[in-house]
């Protein structure tokens, strides 16, 4: 981490810890706005922070760690893509679009949109399969549901909404964001379970003294480490160019880790972990949600498997090393 990254980490860490899962949508949004966080990945020339994807990782991971209940991660990515589209206000991102795109007007539905109510625009995969489209939501009405994470999600029904095309792969970028958030939330749940095991007594000794509990938490630590390393490597690759392979692998690996980690966190906590008043569920419910968003295990495993099989045995290792050797410092 360089100096500016340490500052970014410290700043977001203390802010998100304070706001956390009980964020006030209006007042707290103003606070992240004041710090310029939504412009994190917008070039300085365009009035942004000029950050890299590795900077993005810091913010996304920390948001995941504190189960931040603000659509900041989505706003950062949306602003990054829409930086030249001349739109203002909070943007968000969505998982899918079906419908028709004619003369830069989109009619159809956009689904899996995060916190679309109140958003000025949404970036969604283009319905014709190439790149993304930035959809102006001015005048659109978007009822939202509550996902099991407690976050808001919508399916938007749009009629002739104004759009701008963009070559970026928003589905892949969304998957990267979720990988980073999963990595952060896993670290937080691991810390929570570890602390609980040390404090809680059962059968006359601390839970942490039971070998089965120790082995489970060690397994959890390995999974959290894998998710975090994978997210870091994907961020580094994004900063160097095409990162479809790395993001696919990172989301796939994060999804695996989320499955193992949530199970162990709840197993260690026992009944208390299922109560509304105990904070573990803010993390685990988001982990379950994010695992299914922007491609689940199966989606990315299939993509990676297809690519790997098509390239064949003789290309596997050279392809893998070419990915890293381009990152020479």
């Amino acid at each position: 981490m360089n100096e500016h990254q340490s500052m970014l980490a410290d700043m977001t860490q203390s802010l998100f810890e304070e706001i956390g899962h009980a964020a006030d949508p209006a007042a707290d949004w103003d606070r992240v706005e004041e710090l310029g966080l939504p412009g994190l990945l917008v070039p300085e020339n365009d009035g942004g922070f000029g950050g890299s994807w590795q900077d993005g990782l810091i913010v996304f991971r920390t948001a995941g760690y504190h189960a931040l209940d603000l659509p900041l991660v989505e706003a950062i990515i949306a602003a990054h893509i829409a930086r030249c589209a001349g739109l203002s206000g909070r943007g968000t991102i969505a998982m899918a679009a079906t419908g028709s795109l004619l003369d830069n007007c989109f009619t159809g539905s956009v689904s899996g949109a995060a916190a679309a109510d109140g958003a000025a625009f949404v970036v969604a995969p283009s319905p014709n399969g190439n790149g993304s489209m930035i959809v102006d939501l001015a005048g659109q009405n978007s009822p939202s549901r509550t996902a099991i994470s407690g976050e808001r999600r919508s399916t938007l029904l749009l009629d002739g909404a104004r759009t701008v095309q963009h070559e970026s792969d928003i589905f892949m970028l969304g998957a990267f964001a979720r990988s980073a958030q999963i990595a952060g939330a896993l670290d937080a749940a691991l810390a929570m379970a570890t602390e609980y095991a040390n404090q809680r007594k059962q059968f006359g000794r601390a839970l942490s003294a039971f070998q089965a509990v120790q082995q489970n938490l060690a397994t959890f630590a390995c999974e959290a480490a894998a998710a975090n390393c994978a997210a870091h490597a994907a961020a580094q690759a994004l900063d160097h160019g095409d990162a479809t392979y790395e993001v696919a692998a990172a989301k796939m690996r994060a999804d695996m880790a989320a499955g193992v980690g949530t199970a162990i966190a709840h197993q260690v906590h026992g009944a208390i972990g299922f109560t509304e008043e105990y904070d573990l569920h803010w993390l685990t419910r988001r982990l379950w949600t994010w695992r299914s968003e922007f491609g689940n295990d199966s989606y990315w495993a299939d993509r990676l498997g297809q690519r790997t099989c098509a390239r064949g045995a003789d290309n596997f290792w050279p392809d893998l090393t070419n990915l890293s050797d381009r990152l020479v410092s």
């Binding site: 689904s111 899996g112 996902a147 059968f203 039971f210 197993q267 009944a271 299922f274």
Partner: protein
């Protein structure tokens, strides 16, 4: 080394008729509109349905006729239970009374208490809960601080239970409390029948992470009980309560709790999905088939008068692992917008959140595995 002795199962001749009777009752009762609730049917209380079942003679099936039972075999009871659970029928109201409390009272309870409670249970009108866990004890059930002391011919109960399923709608609790002051761990404990409307009993809800309400805290403030409220012998409460837990473990609810998810999965993927989904379905089907055979074997052993406590523990541990793994496997395999309205998304979203808690009911996995290890003779 003791383990699971497999054996052929002699299914009862009445099986087909009992299935038809159960299926008819389910078909005639409007299903709960929320698929997520159907997936957790054995925790959802619907007194109207419980009454129908009682009137049809499908509760207390193995109990003596004298107290409203039907003197059927354990395998006949098994057939009815699996039908109800597989159909996602709302059996939560009478479930504990039928599975544990009724049999417990018949075995250990005093005549006054049996006569007061059991016939109503068999009719599907009287519901029970179990007072075991206490605050700060986790799965250490011997860590009991609630006390009962003699006061003339009465017993006075003071203390608190927690994680009590269904205490908010039940009529009666069997509670494990300390009757010998100063005794430690599992010595000096006794069981009592406590009417939930007795003065001094307070129930406070525990809201779960989905916003649902299954669990409660139950407080006892100088609750007065008659002498005959004592269940079994004074000081024998631990032995009786663990035998009760072993009864709990023998039921088919463990593996069948996942049926609703499996059926929705079949509906969602249709008749000819890709190889990955096909194989997932096949693997799950093989495991369900095996668990069903194991559950039925336990019922057959009960019917033959054996005590298959270890076998029941093995089935429960396997069933726990299966039902906890299934939502995770389905989430990994099916790319699905969980916030969407398709039934599979609704059920999956719900089970992802609650399935890790399944292993807390009737003993955590570590404890079950410890029991199995002792059966193997590990020391």
């Amino acid at each position: 080394m003791q383990t699971f002795t497999a054996q052929p199962i002699s299914w009862p001749e009445s099986a087909a008729e009992l299935r038809q009777r159960a299926r008819r009752l389910v078909a005639e009762h409007p299903p709960h509109p929320d698929p997520a609730t159907r997936a957790n049917c054995w925790t959802f209380a619907d007194p109207a349905f419980s009454k129908n079942l009682g009137d049809a003679g499908l509760i207390g099936m193995t109990w003596p006729r004298e107290y409203g039972g039907h003197e059927r075999s354990s395998l006949e009871r098994y057939v009815v239970l699996e039908e109800l659970l597989a159909a996602g029928a709302p059996v939560g109201a009478h479930w504990i009374a039928d599975r544990q409390t009724g049999g417990m009272l018949l075995r250990y309870g005093q005549r006054e208490e049996i006569e007061r409670w059991v016939p109503g249970m068999a009719k599907g009108r009287v519901y029970a809960c179990i007072g075991l866990s206490e605050p700060d004890a986790g799965s250490d059930l011997a860590s009991v601080k609630t006390t009962a002391r003699r006061d003339g011919r009465k017993w006075i109960v003071d203390g608190q239970k927690v994680w009590t399923t269904g205490a908010h709608f039940c009529h009666v609790m069997i509670a494990l409390v300390r009757t010998e002051p100063g005794s430690q761990r599992n010595a000096g404990l006794s069981q009592f029948v406590i009417p939930m409307d007795a003065p001094g009993v307070t129930v406070r809800p525990i809201i779960d992470l989905t916003g649902g309400h299954d669990f409660n805290e139950v407080f006892f403030d100088s609750v007065e009980l008659e002498e005959h409220a004592l269940v079994g012998a004074e000081g024998q409460g631990w032995h009786q309560a663990t035998a009760e837990l072993s009864l709990e473990r023998s039921g088919p609810e463990r593996y069948l709790s996942s049926t609703a998810l499996f059926l929705e999965l079949l509906r969602y993927v249709g008749p000819s999905p890709d190889a990955h989904v096909r194989q997932l379905v096949g693997r799950l089907a093989a495991q369900m088939w095996t668990l069903r055979m194991m559950s039925a074997t336990v019922a057959a052993k009960l019917a033959a008068g054996e005590d298959p406590a270890l076998e029941a523990t093995i089935v429960k541990d396997l069933g726990n692992s299966f039902e906890q793994a299934m939502p995770e496997l389905v989430q990994a395999a099916i790319d699905l917008d969980l916030s969407g309205e398709v039934p599979l998304a609704r059920i999956l979203g719900h089970l992802l959140q609650v399935s890790p808690s399944f292993s807390l009911r009737g003993g955590t996995r570590e404890i079950l595995k410890g029991i199995i290890a002792r059966g193997l003779g590990l020391r």
